[in-house]
Protein backbone atom coordinates (compact mmCIF):
# COMPACT_ATOMS: atom_id res chain seq x y z
CA UNK A 1 0.00 0.00 0.00
CA UNK A 2 1.34 3.42 -0.94
CA UNK A 3 2.02 6.10 1.62
CA UNK A 4 -0.93 7.99 0.22
CA UNK A 5 -3.23 5.03 0.69
CA UNK A 6 -2.41 5.07 4.38
CA UNK A 7 -2.60 8.83 4.80
CA UNK A 8 -5.63 9.46 2.55
CA UNK A 9 -7.88 8.18 5.29
CA UNK A 10 -6.50 10.59 7.85
CA UNK A 11 -8.39 13.33 5.95
CA UNK A 12 -5.30 15.50 5.70
CA UNK A 13 -5.10 14.89 1.94
CA UNK A 14 -7.81 16.15 -0.34
CA UNK A 15 -8.08 16.55 -4.10
CA UNK A 16 -7.52 20.18 -5.06
CA UNK A 17 -6.60 22.09 -8.18
CA UNK A 18 -3.61 24.41 -7.98
CA UNK A 19 -5.87 27.45 -7.84
CA UNK A 20 -7.97 26.00 -5.02
CA UNK A 21 -4.86 24.96 -3.11
CA UNK A 22 -3.60 28.55 -2.92
CA UNK A 23 -7.03 29.76 -1.84
CA UNK A 24 -6.87 27.36 1.11
CA UNK A 25 -3.36 28.58 1.89
CA UNK A 26 -4.44 32.22 1.81
CA UNK A 27 -7.36 31.52 4.13
CA UNK A 28 -5.04 29.71 6.57
CA UNK A 29 -2.78 32.79 6.67
CA UNK A 30 -5.73 34.83 8.03
CA UNK A 31 -5.43 37.96 5.84
CA UNK A 32 -7.67 40.85 6.89
CA UNK A 33 -8.02 42.39 3.41
CA UNK A 34 -8.24 40.55 0.07
CA UNK A 35 -8.79 42.81 -2.94
CA UNK A 36 -10.15 40.69 -5.81
CA UNK A 37 -10.27 41.19 -9.56
CA UNK A 38 -10.81 38.10 -11.73
CA UNK A 39 -8.75 37.02 -14.73
CA UNK A 40 -8.36 33.61 -16.39
CA UNK A 41 -6.73 31.36 -15.15
CA UNK A 42 -6.66 32.92 -11.67
CA UNK A 43 -10.44 33.23 -11.21
CA UNK A 44 -10.91 29.90 -9.35
CA UNK A 45 -8.64 31.29 -6.58
CA UNK A 46 -11.12 34.10 -5.93
CA UNK A 47 -14.15 31.84 -6.31
CA UNK A 48 -12.79 29.45 -3.68
CA UNK A 49 -11.92 32.34 -1.33
CA UNK A 50 -15.51 33.59 -1.63
CA UNK A 51 -16.76 30.06 -0.87
CA UNK A 52 -14.47 29.77 2.16
CA UNK A 53 -15.68 33.13 3.44
CA UNK A 54 -19.32 32.09 3.05
CA UNK A 55 -18.52 28.89 4.94
CA UNK A 56 -17.00 30.86 7.80
CA UNK A 57 -13.44 29.63 7.14
CA UNK A 58 -12.15 33.10 6.22
CA UNK A 59 -12.77 36.19 8.33
CA UNK A 60 -11.02 38.75 6.12
CA UNK A 61 -12.81 41.19 3.81
CA UNK A 62 -13.02 40.37 0.10
CA UNK A 63 -12.90 43.77 -1.60
CA UNK A 64 -14.14 43.81 -5.22
CA UNK A 65 -12.11 46.46 -7.05
CA UNK A 66 -12.34 47.93 -10.55
CA UNK A 67 -8.90 46.85 -11.81
CA UNK A 68 -5.71 45.02 -10.88
CA UNK A 69 -4.01 48.39 -10.41
CA UNK A 70 -6.58 49.17 -7.73
CA UNK A 71 -6.19 45.69 -6.26
CA UNK A 72 -2.50 46.31 -5.63
CA UNK A 73 -3.13 49.89 -4.42
CA UNK A 74 -5.61 48.45 -1.90
CA UNK A 75 -3.11 45.79 -0.83
CA UNK A 76 -0.44 48.44 -0.21
CA UNK A 77 -2.73 50.74 1.78
CA UNK A 78 -4.09 47.93 3.95
CA UNK A 79 -0.63 46.44 4.48
CA UNK A 80 0.75 49.82 5.59
CA UNK A 81 -2.19 50.12 7.96
CA UNK A 82 -0.74 47.06 9.66
CA UNK A 83 -2.77 44.06 8.50
CA UNK A 84 -1.98 40.98 6.46
CA UNK A 85 -3.25 41.09 2.85
CA UNK A 86 -3.58 38.70 -0.11
CA UNK A 87 -4.43 38.97 -3.78
CA UNK A 88 -3.92 36.99 -6.97
CA UNK A 89 -3.61 37.85 -10.64
CA UNK A 90 -2.17 36.76 -13.99
CA UNK A 91 -0.76 38.10 -17.24
CA UNK A 92 -2.46 41.39 -18.29
CA UNK A 93 -3.52 41.92 -14.68
CA UNK A 94 0.06 41.74 -13.45
CA UNK A 95 1.17 44.05 -16.25
CA UNK A 96 -1.47 46.59 -15.21
CA UNK A 97 -0.16 46.42 -11.63
CA UNK A 98 3.40 47.15 -12.68
CA UNK A 99 3.55 50.71 -11.29
CA UNK A 100 2.09 49.61 -7.98
CA UNK A 101 4.53 46.67 -7.71
CA UNK A 102 7.40 49.13 -7.46
CA UNK A 103 5.40 51.12 -4.90
CA UNK A 104 4.71 48.10 -2.70
CA UNK A 105 8.38 47.15 -2.56
CA UNK A 106 9.60 50.72 -2.03
CA UNK A 107 7.11 51.25 0.78
CA UNK A 108 8.35 47.93 2.28
CA UNK A 109 4.80 46.54 2.39
CA UNK A 110 4.93 42.74 2.99
CA UNK A 111 2.18 41.98 0.47
CA UNK A 112 1.80 38.35 -0.64
CA UNK A 113 0.39 37.81 -4.12
CA UNK A 114 -0.11 34.79 -6.35
CA UNK A 115 0.57 35.15 -10.06
CA UNK A 116 -0.57 32.45 -12.46
CA UNK A 117 1.84 32.55 -15.41
CA UNK A 118 -0.14 33.27 -18.58
CA UNK A 119 0.75 34.61 -22.01
CA UNK A 120 0.72 38.37 -22.53
CA UNK A 121 -1.21 39.81 -25.48
CA UNK A 122 -0.93 40.23 -28.41
CA UNK A 123 -1.91 37.73 -29.66
CA UNK A 124 -4.51 36.76 -27.06
CA UNK A 125 -4.06 33.48 -25.24
CA UNK A 126 -4.62 31.66 -21.95
CA UNK A 127 -1.50 29.56 -22.01
CA UNK A 128 1.42 28.95 -19.69
CA UNK A 129 4.29 31.40 -20.17
CA UNK A 130 6.53 32.83 -17.45
CA UNK A 131 7.38 36.11 -19.16
CA UNK A 132 4.61 38.00 -17.30
CA UNK A 133 6.21 37.52 -13.87
CA UNK A 134 9.84 37.44 -14.99
CA UNK A 135 9.27 40.86 -16.59
CA UNK A 136 8.63 42.14 -13.02
CA UNK A 137 12.03 41.00 -11.78
CA UNK A 138 13.32 44.55 -11.16
CA UNK A 139 10.36 45.72 -9.05
CA UNK A 140 11.81 44.65 -5.69
CA UNK A 141 9.50 41.68 -5.21
CA UNK A 142 10.75 38.33 -3.98
CA UNK A 143 9.68 35.67 -6.51
CA UNK A 144 9.14 31.97 -5.80
CA UNK A 145 8.25 29.52 -8.62
CA UNK A 146 6.20 26.41 -7.78
CA UNK A 147 5.86 23.09 -9.59
CA UNK A 148 2.76 21.52 -7.97
CA UNK A 149 -0.49 22.41 -6.17
CA UNK A 150 1.02 21.11 -2.91
CA UNK A 151 4.06 23.31 -3.28
CA UNK A 152 1.84 26.32 -4.04
CA UNK A 153 -0.06 25.86 -0.80
CA UNK A 154 3.10 25.38 1.22
CA UNK A 155 4.84 28.32 -0.47
CA UNK A 156 2.05 30.86 0.08
CA UNK A 157 2.34 30.23 3.82
CA UNK A 158 6.13 30.46 3.71
CA UNK A 159 5.82 33.66 1.67
CA UNK A 160 4.10 35.49 4.55
CA UNK A 161 6.86 34.48 6.94
CA UNK A 162 9.55 35.66 4.51
CA UNK A 163 7.75 38.91 3.59
CA UNK A 164 7.16 39.85 7.22
CA UNK A 165 10.74 38.98 8.17
CA UNK A 166 12.52 41.13 5.57
CA UNK A 167 9.67 43.59 4.79
CA UNK A 168 9.51 43.02 1.07
CA UNK A 169 6.51 41.81 -0.95
CA UNK A 170 6.49 38.21 -2.23
CA UNK A 171 5.07 36.86 -5.49
CA UNK A 172 4.23 33.14 -5.53
CA UNK A 173 4.21 31.98 -9.13
CA UNK A 174 3.01 28.91 -11.05
CA UNK A 175 1.98 28.17 -14.61
CA UNK A 176 -1.46 28.33 -16.14
CA UNK A 177 -3.34 25.07 -16.63
CA UNK A 178 -0.38 22.68 -16.18
CA UNK A 179 -0.37 23.61 -12.48
CA UNK A 180 -3.28 26.02 -11.86
CA UNK A 181 -5.93 23.60 -13.12
CA UNK A 182 -4.30 20.27 -12.30
CA UNK A 183 -6.37 18.31 -9.77
CA UNK A 184 -4.10 16.45 -7.35
CA UNK A 185 -3.89 15.16 -3.78
CA UNK A 186 -2.93 18.07 -1.52
CA UNK A 187 -2.29 17.94 2.22
CA UNK A 188 -4.05 20.91 3.80
CA UNK A 189 -2.46 21.67 7.19
CA UNK A 190 -4.56 22.36 10.23
CA UNK A 191 -4.89 25.87 11.65
CA UNK A 192 -2.80 24.75 14.65
CA UNK A 193 0.17 23.90 12.43
CA UNK A 194 -0.12 27.23 10.61
CA UNK A 195 -0.39 29.11 13.90
CA UNK A 196 2.90 27.60 15.07
CA UNK A 197 4.55 28.61 11.80
CA UNK A 198 3.06 32.02 11.20
CA UNK A 199 2.50 34.28 14.20
CA UNK A 200 0.04 37.19 13.94
CA UNK A 201 1.43 40.10 11.93
CA UNK A 202 2.61 42.84 14.29
CA UNK A 203 4.50 45.50 12.30
CA UNK A 204 6.82 47.93 14.04
CA UNK A 205 5.34 50.80 12.02
CA UNK A 206 1.84 51.29 10.70
CA UNK A 207 -0.48 54.03 9.50
CA UNK A 208 -2.19 55.03 12.73
CA UNK A 209 -4.08 58.31 13.32
CA UNK A 210 -3.12 58.09 17.00
CA UNK A 211 0.56 58.16 16.08
CA UNK A 212 0.75 59.96 12.72
CA UNK A 213 3.43 58.80 10.28
CA UNK A 214 3.69 58.81 6.52
CA UNK A 215 4.88 56.32 3.91
CA UNK A 216 6.06 57.32 0.45
CA UNK A 217 6.55 61.04 0.84
CA UNK A 218 9.07 62.91 -1.32
CA UNK A 219 12.66 61.89 -0.55
CA UNK A 220 15.92 63.68 -1.20
CA UNK A 221 18.35 61.92 -3.58
CA UNK A 222 20.34 60.67 -0.59
CA UNK A 223 17.20 59.38 1.16
CA UNK A 224 15.98 57.73 -2.04
CA UNK A 225 19.34 56.05 -2.51
CA UNK A 226 19.33 54.89 1.10
CA UNK A 227 15.88 53.38 0.55
CA UNK A 228 17.05 51.38 -2.46
CA UNK A 229 20.21 50.19 -0.71
CA UNK A 230 18.09 49.09 2.24
CA UNK A 231 15.86 47.14 -0.15
CA UNK A 232 18.93 45.49 -1.66
CA UNK A 233 20.14 44.55 1.83
CA UNK A 234 16.69 43.13 2.60
CA UNK A 235 16.88 41.06 -0.60
CA UNK A 236 20.24 39.71 0.54
CA UNK A 237 18.63 38.66 3.85
CA UNK A 238 15.73 37.11 1.95
CA UNK A 239 17.91 34.19 0.77
CA UNK A 240 18.36 33.07 4.37
CA UNK A 241 14.74 33.89 5.22
CA UNK A 242 13.51 31.65 2.38
CA UNK A 243 15.81 28.84 3.52
CA UNK A 244 14.67 29.24 7.14
CA UNK A 245 10.97 29.28 6.24
CA UNK A 246 11.35 26.20 4.02
CA UNK A 247 13.25 24.33 6.72
CA UNK A 248 10.86 25.25 9.51
CA UNK A 249 7.88 24.25 7.34
CA UNK A 250 9.61 20.95 6.72
CA UNK A 251 9.98 20.35 10.45
CA UNK A 252 6.25 20.93 10.96
CA UNK A 253 4.87 19.09 7.92
CA UNK A 254 7.60 16.85 6.55
CA UNK A 255 7.71 18.94 3.38
CA UNK A 256 10.86 21.07 3.42
CA UNK A 257 11.95 23.48 0.69
CA UNK A 258 15.02 25.45 -0.35
CA UNK A 259 15.99 28.10 -2.88
CA UNK A 260 16.77 25.31 -5.33
CA UNK A 261 15.74 21.65 -5.47
CA UNK A 262 18.07 18.96 -6.78
CA UNK A 263 17.26 15.56 -8.28
CA UNK A 264 19.98 12.93 -8.91
CA UNK A 265 22.61 15.67 -8.79
CA UNK A 266 25.30 13.90 -6.77
CA UNK A 267 27.45 12.63 -9.64
CA UNK A 268 25.69 14.52 -12.43
CA UNK A 269 27.83 15.77 -15.31
CA UNK A 270 24.89 17.14 -17.30
CA UNK A 271 22.29 19.15 -15.39
CA UNK A 272 18.87 20.13 -16.66
CA UNK A 273 17.83 23.44 -15.08
CA UNK A 274 14.30 24.89 -15.07
CA UNK A 275 11.81 26.81 -12.94
CA UNK A 276 8.22 25.63 -12.65
CA UNK A 277 6.21 22.85 -14.26
CA UNK A 278 8.73 21.73 -16.88
CA UNK A 279 11.07 20.73 -14.06
CA UNK A 280 8.51 18.07 -13.10
CA UNK A 281 8.57 16.62 -16.59
CA UNK A 282 12.37 16.87 -16.67
CA UNK A 283 12.60 14.42 -13.73
CA UNK A 284 11.34 11.69 -16.04
CA UNK A 285 13.85 12.84 -18.68
CA UNK A 286 16.65 12.52 -16.09
CA UNK A 287 15.55 8.96 -15.27
CA UNK A 288 15.57 8.01 -18.96
CA UNK A 289 18.98 9.58 -19.52
CA UNK A 290 20.33 7.71 -16.50
CA UNK A 291 18.90 4.43 -17.84
CA UNK A 292 20.79 5.17 -21.06
CA UNK A 293 24.02 5.68 -19.12
CA UNK A 294 24.11 9.49 -19.19
CA UNK A 295 25.01 10.93 -15.75
CA UNK A 296 22.20 13.50 -15.78
CA UNK A 297 20.61 15.47 -12.95
CA UNK A 298 18.00 18.16 -12.45
CA UNK A 299 18.19 21.49 -10.68
CA UNK A 300 14.84 23.21 -10.16
CA UNK A 301 15.07 26.91 -9.50
CA UNK A 302 12.46 27.79 -6.87
CA UNK A 303 13.69 31.22 -5.79
CA UNK A 304 14.26 33.65 -8.68
CA UNK A 305 14.46 36.97 -6.79
CA UNK A 306 16.75 37.32 -5.00
CA UNK A 307 18.69 35.11 -7.41
CA UNK A 308 20.34 32.33 -5.37
CA UNK A 309 23.63 32.39 -7.29
CA UNK A 310 25.73 30.78 -4.55
CA UNK A 311 23.21 27.99 -3.83
CA UNK A 312 22.83 27.31 -7.55
CA UNK A 313 26.50 27.13 -8.42
CA UNK A 314 27.17 24.99 -5.35
CA UNK A 315 24.38 22.57 -6.28
CA UNK A 316 25.75 22.19 -9.81
CA UNK A 317 28.78 20.50 -8.27
CA UNK A 318 31.05 18.93 -10.89
CA UNK A 319 28.62 19.32 -13.80
CA UNK A 320 30.32 20.43 -17.01
CA UNK A 321 27.14 20.93 -19.05
CA UNK A 322 23.99 22.83 -18.04
CA UNK A 323 20.84 22.78 -20.16
CA UNK A 324 18.47 25.60 -19.20
CA UNK A 325 14.81 25.25 -20.21
CA UNK A 326 13.03 28.61 -20.33
CA UNK A 327 9.26 28.87 -20.77
CA UNK A 328 9.75 32.59 -21.28
CA UNK A 329 11.63 34.93 -23.54
CA UNK A 330 13.12 38.39 -23.20
CA UNK A 331 12.75 39.37 -26.84
CA UNK A 332 16.18 40.40 -28.05
CA UNK A 333 18.00 38.52 -25.30
CA UNK A 334 16.42 35.05 -25.09
CA UNK A 335 15.80 32.77 -22.12
CA UNK A 336 15.61 34.85 -18.94
CA UNK A 337 16.67 32.13 -16.49
CA UNK A 338 19.56 31.19 -18.80
CA UNK A 339 20.83 34.78 -18.71
CA UNK A 340 20.69 34.80 -14.90
CA UNK A 341 22.45 31.44 -14.68
CA UNK A 342 25.21 32.64 -17.04
CA UNK A 343 25.76 35.67 -14.81
CA UNK A 344 25.81 33.52 -11.67
CA UNK A 345 28.35 31.08 -13.14
CA UNK A 346 30.56 33.95 -14.23
CA UNK A 347 30.34 35.64 -10.83
CA UNK A 348 31.42 32.38 -9.18
CA UNK A 349 34.26 31.84 -11.63
CA UNK A 350 32.63 28.75 -13.15
CA UNK A 351 33.48 29.89 -16.66
CA UNK A 352 34.26 26.44 -18.07
CA UNK A 353 30.67 25.17 -17.70
CA UNK A 354 28.98 24.75 -21.08
CA UNK A 355 25.52 26.33 -20.95
CA UNK A 356 22.79 25.53 -23.49
CA UNK A 357 19.73 27.78 -23.48
CA UNK A 358 16.47 26.30 -24.83
CA UNK A 359 13.20 28.22 -25.25
CA UNK A 360 11.01 25.29 -24.24
CA UNK A 361 7.25 25.50 -23.93
CA UNK A 362 6.76 29.13 -24.93
CA UNK A 363 3.08 30.07 -25.01
CA UNK A 364 2.05 26.83 -23.33
CA UNK A 365 3.50 24.56 -26.03
CA UNK A 366 3.67 21.05 -24.62
CA UNK A 367 7.11 19.80 -23.53
CA UNK A 368 7.35 16.02 -23.31
CA UNK A 369 10.06 14.03 -21.51
CA UNK A 370 11.22 12.88 -24.97
CA UNK A 371 11.71 16.51 -26.05
CA UNK A 372 13.78 17.20 -22.91
CA UNK A 373 15.91 14.11 -23.55
CA UNK A 374 16.48 15.43 -27.07
CA UNK A 375 17.72 18.78 -25.72
CA UNK A 376 20.10 17.01 -23.35
CA UNK A 377 21.45 14.86 -26.18
CA UNK A 378 21.98 17.96 -28.32
CA UNK A 379 24.07 19.42 -25.51
CA UNK A 380 26.19 16.27 -25.28
CA UNK A 381 27.49 16.72 -28.83
CA UNK A 382 31.04 18.05 -29.07
CA UNK A 383 31.59 21.70 -29.81
CA UNK A 384 30.77 24.96 -28.09
CA UNK A 385 27.18 25.90 -27.25
CA UNK A 386 25.47 28.38 -29.58
CA UNK A 387 25.55 31.99 -28.43
CA UNK A 388 21.79 32.35 -28.88
CA UNK A 389 18.86 30.55 -27.30
CA UNK A 390 17.63 27.48 -29.17
CA UNK A 391 14.15 26.25 -29.89
CA UNK A 392 13.54 22.52 -29.31
CA UNK A 393 13.01 22.16 -33.08
CA UNK A 394 16.77 22.76 -33.41
CA UNK A 395 17.37 19.40 -31.74
Amino acid sequence: MSALAASARTATHTLLTGDHAVAHAAALARPAVIPVYPITPQTPVLEKLAELREAGALAGDLVPVESEHSAMATCIAASLAGVRVFTATASQGLALMHEMLHYAAGARAPVVMVNVNRTLAAPWGFWADQTDSLAQRDTGWIQLYCASPQEELDTVLQAYRVAETVLLPVMVVFEALYVSHALEPVAVPGADVVARFLPPYEPAWRLDPASPRGFGGTATPAQWRANRLAMQAAMDRAVAAVADAGERWGELTGRGYGAVEGYRLDDAELVLLAAGAIAGTARTAVDRLREAGVPAGLLRLRLFRPFPAAELTSALGMAHTVVVLDRNCSIGSGGIVAAEVRAALHAHDETDVRLFSFLAGLGGVDVSPEAVVGMARYALRPGPPPAESLLPEAV
Binding site: S2, V179, A182, L183, P185, G280, T281, T284, S368, P369
Partner: protein, 186 residues
Protein backbone atom coordinates in the same frame (compact mmCIF):
# COMPACT_ATOMS: atom_id res chain seq x y z
CA UNK B 1 1.67 4.77 -14.36
CA UNK B 2 -1.75 4.62 -15.96
CA UNK B 3 -2.75 7.34 -18.45
CA UNK B 4 -6.39 7.78 -19.45
CA UNK B 5 -8.07 10.35 -21.70
CA UNK B 6 -11.76 11.13 -22.04
CA UNK B 7 -13.01 12.57 -25.32
CA UNK B 8 -16.35 14.32 -25.36
CA UNK B 9 -18.17 17.33 -26.62
CA UNK B 10 -18.54 20.54 -24.67
CA UNK B 11 -21.53 20.12 -22.32
CA UNK B 12 -21.29 16.31 -22.13
CA UNK B 13 -19.36 16.44 -18.87
CA UNK B 14 -16.03 14.96 -19.96
CA UNK B 15 -14.10 17.17 -17.58
CA UNK B 16 -16.34 16.48 -14.58
CA UNK B 17 -16.21 12.76 -15.44
CA UNK B 18 -12.43 12.93 -15.43
CA UNK B 19 -12.43 14.57 -12.00
CA UNK B 20 -14.84 11.94 -10.69
CA UNK B 21 -12.61 9.17 -12.06
CA UNK B 22 -9.63 10.86 -10.39
CA UNK B 23 -11.52 10.99 -7.09
CA UNK B 24 -12.40 7.30 -7.40
CA UNK B 25 -8.77 6.25 -7.94
CA UNK B 26 -7.79 8.58 -5.07
CA UNK B 27 -10.32 6.84 -2.83
CA UNK B 28 -8.71 3.56 -3.86
CA UNK B 29 -5.42 4.87 -2.48
CA UNK B 30 -3.72 5.95 -5.69
CA UNK B 31 -1.96 9.20 -6.59
CA UNK B 32 -3.73 11.07 -9.38
CA UNK B 33 -3.40 14.10 -11.63
CA UNK B 34 -6.43 15.25 -13.65
CA UNK B 35 -6.33 18.07 -16.17
CA UNK B 36 -8.07 19.25 -19.31
CA UNK B 37 -7.15 20.90 -22.59
CA UNK B 38 -8.59 24.41 -22.55
CA UNK B 39 -9.32 27.00 -25.18
CA UNK B 40 -12.42 28.11 -27.02
CA UNK B 41 -14.74 25.86 -25.01
CA UNK B 42 -18.28 25.86 -26.26
CA UNK B 43 -21.13 23.41 -26.37
CA UNK B 44 -20.60 20.73 -28.96
CA UNK B 45 -16.90 21.36 -29.54
CA UNK B 46 -14.47 18.48 -28.92
CA UNK B 47 -13.09 18.41 -25.36
CA UNK B 48 -10.26 16.25 -24.04
CA UNK B 49 -9.81 15.53 -20.34
CA UNK B 50 -6.78 13.64 -19.07
CA UNK B 51 -5.91 11.57 -16.01
CA UNK B 52 -2.69 10.07 -14.68
CA UNK B 53 -2.80 7.42 -11.94
CA UNK B 54 0.27 6.15 -10.15
CA UNK B 55 1.54 4.70 -6.87
CA UNK B 56 3.82 7.73 -6.33
CA UNK B 57 3.12 11.46 -6.70
CA UNK B 58 2.81 12.41 -10.37
CA UNK B 59 5.47 14.94 -11.38
CA UNK B 60 4.98 14.88 -15.17
CA UNK B 61 3.38 18.13 -16.40
CA UNK B 62 2.76 17.55 -20.08
CA UNK B 63 0.05 16.26 -22.38
CA UNK B 64 -0.72 12.56 -22.62
CA UNK B 65 0.53 11.47 -26.03
CA UNK B 66 0.09 7.71 -25.68
CA UNK B 67 -2.77 6.92 -23.30
CA UNK B 68 -3.36 3.44 -21.96
CA UNK B 69 -7.12 3.82 -22.26
CA UNK B 70 -9.53 6.22 -23.97
CA UNK B 71 -13.19 6.84 -23.16
CA UNK B 72 -15.10 8.27 -26.12
CA UNK B 73 -18.38 9.86 -25.03
CA UNK B 74 -19.49 10.58 -28.61
CA UNK B 75 -18.79 7.96 -31.29
CA UNK B 76 -18.30 10.75 -33.83
CA UNK B 77 -15.07 11.64 -32.03
CA UNK B 78 -13.50 8.20 -32.46
CA UNK B 79 -11.59 9.24 -35.54
CA UNK B 80 -9.86 11.85 -33.37
CA UNK B 81 -8.30 9.12 -31.19
CA UNK B 82 -4.61 8.96 -31.91
CA UNK B 83 -3.68 5.49 -33.20
CA UNK B 84 -0.78 5.38 -30.75
CA UNK B 85 -2.39 3.79 -27.71
CA UNK B 86 -0.20 1.61 -25.57
CA UNK B 87 -0.35 -2.10 -26.22
CA UNK B 88 -3.16 -3.71 -24.29
CA UNK B 89 -5.14 -0.50 -24.12
CA UNK B 90 -8.88 -0.12 -24.40
CA UNK B 91 -10.95 2.35 -26.40
CA UNK B 92 -14.42 2.39 -24.89
CA UNK B 93 -16.98 4.04 -27.17
CA UNK B 94 -20.47 5.24 -26.36
CA UNK B 95 -22.20 3.75 -29.35
CA UNK B 96 -25.51 2.14 -30.25
CA UNK B 97 -24.49 0.16 -33.25
CA UNK B 98 -21.72 -1.61 -35.02
CA UNK B 99 -18.65 0.49 -35.64
CA UNK B 100 -18.02 1.60 -39.17
CA UNK B 101 -15.31 3.58 -40.88
CA UNK B 102 -12.95 3.36 -37.92
CA UNK B 103 -9.26 3.85 -38.16
CA UNK B 104 -7.26 0.75 -37.24
CA UNK B 105 -6.15 0.64 -33.62
CA UNK B 106 -3.78 -1.65 -31.82
CA UNK B 107 -6.07 -1.39 -28.81
CA UNK B 108 -9.34 -3.17 -28.19
CA UNK B 109 -12.32 -1.07 -29.26
CA UNK B 110 -15.43 -1.87 -27.24
CA UNK B 111 -18.89 -0.36 -27.63
CA UNK B 112 -21.30 0.33 -24.82
CA UNK B 113 -24.73 1.90 -25.27
CA UNK B 114 -24.22 4.47 -22.53
CA UNK B 115 -26.94 6.64 -24.08
CA UNK B 116 -29.56 3.99 -23.38
CA UNK B 117 -28.26 3.42 -19.83
CA UNK B 118 -28.34 7.15 -19.09
CA UNK B 119 -31.82 7.53 -20.54
CA UNK B 120 -33.12 4.61 -18.42
CA UNK B 121 -31.58 6.21 -15.32
CA UNK B 122 -33.42 9.46 -16.10
CA UNK B 123 -30.29 11.41 -17.04
CA UNK B 124 -31.22 12.32 -20.61
CA UNK B 125 -28.07 12.87 -22.66
CA UNK B 126 -25.62 12.81 -19.71
CA UNK B 127 -23.69 9.64 -20.56
CA UNK B 128 -20.48 10.26 -18.61
CA UNK B 129 -21.30 8.38 -15.40
CA UNK B 130 -22.58 5.34 -17.33
CA UNK B 131 -19.30 5.40 -19.28
CA UNK B 132 -17.25 5.56 -16.07
CA UNK B 133 -19.09 2.54 -14.73
CA UNK B 134 -18.57 0.64 -17.98
CA UNK B 135 -14.87 1.50 -17.93
CA UNK B 136 -14.46 0.16 -14.40
CA UNK B 137 -16.43 -2.97 -15.31
CA UNK B 138 -14.58 -3.63 -18.54
CA UNK B 139 -11.09 -3.10 -17.13
CA UNK B 140 -11.32 -4.17 -13.50
CA UNK B 141 -9.01 -1.28 -12.62
CA UNK B 142 -11.27 0.23 -10.00
CA UNK B 143 -13.59 -1.12 -7.29
CA UNK B 144 -17.21 -0.21 -8.01
CA UNK B 145 -17.67 0.99 -4.41
CA UNK B 146 -14.98 3.65 -4.82
CA UNK B 147 -16.43 4.77 -8.14
CA UNK B 148 -19.99 4.91 -6.80
CA UNK B 149 -18.84 7.02 -3.84
CA UNK B 150 -16.94 9.39 -6.13
CA UNK B 151 -19.95 9.70 -8.45
CA UNK B 152 -22.26 10.43 -5.51
CA UNK B 153 -19.90 13.11 -4.22
CA UNK B 154 -18.85 14.59 -7.55
CA UNK B 155 -22.12 14.75 -9.48
CA UNK B 156 -23.18 18.39 -9.83
CA UNK B 157 -26.86 17.28 -9.80
CA UNK B 158 -29.05 14.15 -9.71
CA UNK B 159 -26.63 12.16 -7.62
CA UNK B 160 -28.87 9.08 -7.17
CA UNK B 161 -29.57 8.86 -10.92
CA UNK B 162 -25.87 9.16 -11.71
CA UNK B 163 -24.96 6.44 -9.21
CA UNK B 164 -27.61 4.20 -10.78
CA UNK B 165 -26.25 4.86 -14.27
CA UNK B 166 -22.74 4.14 -13.02
CA UNK B 167 -23.82 0.78 -11.58
CA UNK B 168 -25.73 -0.18 -14.73
CA UNK B 169 -22.71 0.85 -16.80
CA UNK B 170 -20.49 -1.32 -14.58
CA UNK B 171 -22.69 -4.35 -15.31
CA UNK B 172 -22.51 -3.63 -19.05
CA UNK B 173 -18.73 -3.27 -18.76
CA UNK B 174 -18.43 -6.60 -16.94
CA UNK B 175 -20.30 -8.25 -19.81
CA UNK B 176 -17.87 -6.64 -22.27
CA UNK B 177 -14.94 -8.11 -20.37
CA UNK B 178 -16.10 -11.53 -21.51
CA UNK B 179 -16.14 -10.48 -25.17
CA UNK B 180 -13.11 -12.09 -26.81
CA UNK B 181 -10.70 -9.43 -27.99
CA UNK B 182 -10.72 -10.67 -31.58
CA UNK B 183 -14.47 -10.37 -31.87
CA UNK B 184 -14.55 -6.60 -31.71
CA UNK B 185 -11.17 -5.55 -32.93
CA UNK B 186 -11.27 -3.47 -36.09
Amino acid sequence: MLEITILGRGGQGAQVACQILAAAFFRAGRHVQAFAAYGGERRGAPVTASLRVDDAPVTLRCDIERPDHVLVLDAGLLEGVAPSLRTGGLILVNSRGAPCGRAPHAARVLDVDAGAIAATAGLGPIVSTAMLGAFAGATGLLPLADLRAAVAEGSPARGAENVAACSAGFAAGLALRRVPAGAVEV
